[in-house]
Symmetry: D2
Subunit: 341 residues, 4 copies
């Protein structure tokens, strides 16, 4: 089959002929790719940033946001069948460690990460297991939801966690209404009646956030902290949901958090720097968020099937992967770029 493989760091990936993946264990699943999301992480992998973390042997196939159709299953697979349209949880987990046994897949002690530390979905077929495959509702197409597999899941996991604590009358500040953020806005709207304030540097992103249900939008023009203070009666928001995590977002967010409030860290890049006296005297919490569980992704697919979470995508044929990566690098993709074999 055809696959886009990275042969050398700092070099362009190439379309290669590789062997078709094969079933080797009873929980194995082979998926014909219907769509593979092109993500900024792919650029970072090519640039070698992930080499020290994964030590993956080159060449290997990129692509960690995958959806498609099941074409073959091992003897013990019961949750999906040949012909099913599926989205794939980004991790292939062991199912045996304490974390897996608690439904906390992300902290599996022995997971694989296709597209990152083993062959991924920039290809015609992908080898995965039953533990990663979620059957799609008949109204959903793999190409439309592939990008929810990782970016969408991360937003869902954090926002659903926040929504479980928020009550009518609470205010939530969403920092960043871009790729992950605009999914977060939709999830928060679907799961709660909180009063939502969205802050972003980009007026178009704010317009989209308002359309998706945010009650208030604030342009990050240097006066955003004052604007947010005014919207929260000077007390701050019960929850800050930060999809940016760098470049002043953290300082703004901490300054906008209410006493006894929760700060959800999702975006990253910067450093959280808070005197402990501020943490205890306001009794605030900082909550880390990493991807999400298999069941989180299944829940997100329910919202997608009901049209409560939608995503703009631009399709590229698999052979034009280089153009997709270039467009992403140049910031010229409309929505998320999706490779279609």
């Amino acid at each position: 089959m055809k696959a886009v493989q990275l042969g050398k760091y700092h070099s362009a990936p190439e379309l290669q002929d590789v062997a078709d993946p094969k079933i080797s264990g009873p929980l194995d699943v082979i998926v014909k790719i219907g769509g593979a999301g092109v993500c900024r992480t792919d650029l970072h992998i090519i640039e070698g940033q992930w080499e020290p973390k994964t030590g993956v042997e080159l060449p290997y196939t990129l692509g960690h946001e995958n959806a498609g159709w099941v074409v073959e299953v091992g003897s013990a697979v019961t949750n999906v069948a040949v012909g099913d349209a599926v989205i794939l949880h980004p991790l292939v987990t062991c199912g045996l460690c304490r974390a897996c046994r608690d439904g906390d897949d992300v902290h599996c002690l022995a997971s694989k990460f296709p597209g990152v530390d083993t062959d991924g979905g920039y290809a015609e077929y992908l080898h995965t297991t039953a533990r990663s495959a979620i059957k799609l509702d008949s109204t959903l197409q793999p190409v439309d939801v592939a990008a929810l597999a990782d970016a969408g899941l991360t937003a869902y996991h954090a926002v659903a966690k926040a929504a479980r604590k928020l009550r009518p009358g609470d205010k939530a500040l969403v920092i960043g209404a871009g790729g992950l953020g605009h999914i977060g806005v939709q999830v928060l709207r679907a799961l709660s009646s909180v009063e939502m304030i969205v802050v972003d540097r980009n007026a178009a992103a704010l317009a989209l956030a308002a359309e998706l249900g945010a009650e208030h939008t604030v342009l990050a023009d240097g006066h955003q902290v004052e604007a947010i203070a005014e919207l929260t009666g000077g007390a701050g928001a019960e929850a800050v949901i930060d999809f940016v995590g760098e470049g002043g977002a953290l300082e703004d967010g901490v300054a906008s958090l209410r006493r006894n409030g929760d700060y959800y860290v999702i975006g990253y890049g910067g450093t959280l720097n808070v005197p402990t006296i501020d943490i205890i005297s306001a009794e605030i919490n900082f909550i880390g968020n990493l991807v999400g569980s298999y069941n989180d992704l299944a829940e997100l697919m329910v919202l997608a099937a009901r049209g409560k979470v939608t995503l703009h995508t631009s399709s590229y044929p698999l052979a034009e992967f280089a153009r997709a990566l270039d467009d992403l690098d140049a910031g010229s993709v409309r929505g998320r770029a999706i490779l279609v074999p």
Copy 2:
């Protein structure tokens, strides 16, 4: 190998020569039995009470409370290794359904129940999977903990659920300090500082409960409701943990439950019969409890390894299974009967 099989309902099981179990899948585990608990449910199976529920094909091997040593593992087993002493979760679960993915093993949509609907542990060897095997601490012997696999797990699951809500100053009423109940008393003592009241018909059981840490014991002599009312200042207990569930226990328990209290149903046999006006005007809850998860059993093994939960047992050689069943039926077993191959 030798195995105690039930060949016909209403007939005595017999010791047979049967084929040794074999590894057929990569998650399979073969365990050499070190101890198999003899339980009242085994008597009920022999009497045919479970026939309509399980439809298990006869002959098959009894024994659903099992512990031993791993002698062979499939290629994908990572949580236990050959030579490990293990206790076995009573269910063999699929790992793929929504319940399994939430850590809620008991509600697996495709589980098997060795000793009940497939071959169990009254035998030299047992076929199970990695999803049921928990490695024992070096201080624990299979023969000593086997009976915790089902009875102990059920008590742990319910009591740990109750303990998570109880606060110092709350009172918990434990109904029944027999087989499950006396494990429940130990678990409640290990996990909380609640004030514990134990009621039973049997003075010896109450003496044991007091020794295990109950602050108050009440003999069920017809005046128990008044005695409990006095111990709770007339207001009732924040939690009732009912290991009996029949024969007046329910009426006593409901009468002893505080407003806004939780009634944990574990024992069964009787019928809960409460006017809805009483449920709403006191805003009380009735909480069902069924076995427990794999992680619940792992937690119970931690308590056992620290000596916080112990159990009296009487060993019988496997070949003397008939005597063990007779003793159980006659009520003459001291503690729990354990078959040792």
Copy 3:
């Protein structure tokens, strides 16, 4: 002032001249009534059903669903001010007992219940305290929200509790879409993305439920259990929210509850009658619900201010209270009847 007082059980209440209420303590609040809901409980009080429970001294003023404007406050009142439009929590609570200190107002050990055990709101003015008064958003009128003070609060409390556990993909069965039920449907829609099934005997109630956001409606025509089973793939609903609690609703609800599901008891009249083996083998829970807290009512007012919960009402001048009670008794009130002094 004028007040509608009950002078004798089994006799019609009468409009009387009574002394105006006065501030006597620093937390006292006097409210000029803007609307007082007329409720079936008022009929039951007149019929003497509540006499043994409350022992209230006659004559006294009816009316337990009250809203209006603050006209006088005690020296320590800080949460409302003269001129504020307010809704009143149905209980006047002590603020000192353990329940009050946990925010669990309903289980206050020393509460008063205006309209039930002390003078209520069928009058020009009402004596209450700061602990019962919630300032209304400027978009809300007392006459429009008065009936949310008790009926609406009860629905909100139960449904919000259920919503905190429900996830996308779960199904909730709402039994009864009448007075409380149709508020419950609106609250459930505002707080979750659960798939909602509503069952009722009345086709018009079902039409309203569908309009308010229920995905499925089922007419209780004798085949409702089968219809619900079909809608839940034979597995039942993760939550049953029962606003009826009598006359077959309980049997239908229990039969429609999924393994590991939660049954919220709100309506009453019947008797819950379930074998304990069914409670434990399906591991189901029965959750009582009684009114709601002060903060619950504040949250409901947020939903009301956003138009997410609305209520049909029919106003009657205070002097025409007898017509309102007769209309209620005859079932001819459109929506909720509200007395307006």
Copy 4:
């Protein structure tokens, strides 16, 4: 009466004759002081560090850890009576704001803090309200528990929060076994079966921690991170409970926190400095902790009454307050210093 008042910042407080406090409202309570804890915060107040925060008008009476006997109550006080021995929650709260109505007293929007922003307990009598007074069990003396009112409450609040999430098999790292820390160790032992590791620079503090139930103690000698790593199998602890919060404790704590773990910030002084990529890639949480609620203090008194939490104290007559402050400053108090009028 006699009272120790601060007349000028940076000057020694002085024993003065002041007017006896009087009942002015129905919830007021006058307490004859049985013991008032002398705390490092008192030194900071004298040094003027709190002046910009509280703006309290001088002179005023110090003392924020108070217990004694009720000598007079207002007309609406129902929870304590004249003659009762009581401990006082450090805040006098309004009971009307949203936080108070949720049982979250510490975030009351209108609280007073006797000894800090109004007259405190270095005196013969103290003016407080029913909302701060907790009746003591007959086995407890005010002088013995006074220091639990603030220091003990803070430790209880944080540790009880941690204990509700911890399971048998989890490990908890307690940083600091001094004043607050050794109370935290006792609370953690009373409320959970977690495996406890305590780290401190002081060998005597570690010896005490071991006596109070810690399974492991680690001397902070520069190799503590390695020692903790070894005790946690290299994975870190599920919870870090940090009573230090400065001077390397934070770095050690973060390095010893397990993936998906919770870091409870209690001590302060240093600055939390963590790259957001570390927060998200390990999905860790930082949880602020500030004093505790009225009900938290009531729960702590239950543990104290059962002998599960004890405290070393050294009594000083009220007139010898200067010696107590000097001893505290010099580090020569054995346990906590308590002033006794």
